[in-house]
């Protein structure tokens, strides 16, 4: 066969369709599974396990997520006292009251008197002292919170 100059000059047309198909499928997958609420979940908190723990069927309108746990080293060993992880800060429970008051003031804008309808979601580490969790609940009760939700994890999930 005789090769002409034109046969070298021709551009090779790549069919991009299959790649674009796959790439859009990937994007769709990630968009479906992405969970922006996971941002409120602190990885340092190792939740207690319960076989009865099921995601709520109806999500409350307003919720205040409070997370109690420990600072841990790379091996996962506890290296601190029990702390509250709140707004990227790790603070002892004793210092939480002013922050809670500030949070409460926000909810009070829509409901100046009476109990606060916001649900307090407590994500406490399995190794947290029960007394600390109870004190956290009492602190919230003093600010007129009434609804609490204790978070636990299904055993097979870990």
């Amino acid at each position: 066969m005789k090769l002409t100059r034109d046969s070298f000059d021709n551009k090779v047309d790549l069919d991009m369709t299959p790649m674009i198909d796959i790439v859009f499928q990937l994007i769709t997958f990630f968009m479906v599974v992405i969970n922006f609420e996971a941002g409120e979940i602190d990885e340092r908190v190792k939740l207690a396990q319960s076989e009865l723990a099921r995601p709520p069927k109806v999500k409350p309108d307003n919720e205040l997520v409070l997370q109690m746990g420990f600072q841990r080293d790379k091996e996962g060993q506890v290296i601190s006292e029990s702390l509250l992880f709140y707004n990227s800060q790790a603070i002892p429970l004793e210092e939480f009251r002013p922050l809670l008051k500030r949070e409460t003031a926000f909810y009070r804008l829509s409901n100046p008197t009476g109990p606060i309808r916001t649900t307090v979601v407590i994500r406490a580490d399995a190794e947290s002292p029960a007394g600390q969790v109870q004190e956290l609940i009492r602190l919230c009760q003093e600010e007129k919170y009434e609804k609490f939700s204790l978070r636990a994890m299904q055993p097979e999930a870990q």
Binding site: F30, A48, P55, G131, V133, I137
Partner: protein, 166 residues
């Protein structure tokens, strides 16, 4: 000017795909980096206003249930008590607690919603043990349906017991 129409209809218009592919890959990278494999979390809902008057025992046909959790030095469960009855420790104690409470409230009893369980735990006890106790008090997994069934809705905590040294 003379226009040539003959060949223009057969010419393909090349579309530059590069910007679109750039943007699409950026999107994929964003989603990959922000993706967190979410573990299923569940809730135990508690309605607990401060200073709510306890319902008089005489008004209730089913008595309130008190569960006491006593911690050992390491924060584990040393002893579990239902009322004044010791149930021991470990998973067997929780299983006994579950059966005992089911026996008290009765399966399918409409009064179950009125029954309140009070959890009284030592200060240093690991929270995991409290959750185990709440699990044992509030329900069980139905062996037939494999779905949870709740037989107690109301849970409350006794005031926290300060540690002896604190």
């Amino acid at each position: 000017m003379r226009l040539v129409h003959a060949d223009t209809s057969s010419h393909k218009i090349p579309i530059d795909m590069t910007p679109m592919i750039d943007a699409v890959f950026q999107l994929i990278i964003f989603f990959m980096l922000t993706l967190k494999i979410r573990t299923d979390e569940g809730n135990f809902d508690i309605n607990m206003p401060i200073g709510a008057p306890a319902q008089a025992a005489s008004q209730l046909l089913v008595p309130d249930i008190k569960v006491r959790l006593i911690a050992n030095r390491a924060g584990g469960l040393s002893r579990l008590e239902l009322g004044r009855r010791s149930l021991g420790n470990g998973d067997k104690a929780y299983a006994t607690l579950n059966e005992s409470i089911l026996g008290i409230v009765g399966k399918g009893n409409s009064l179950n919603k009125e029954v309140e369980v009070e959890i009284d735990a030592d200060y240093e006890l690991h929270y995991q043990e409290v959750i185990k106790a709440i699990t044992a008090c509030t329900g069980r997994i139905n062996p037939a349906t494999k779905q949870p069934e709740r037989f107690v809705e109301k849970i409350k905590f006794a005031p926290p017991r300060k540690p002896a040294g604190g």
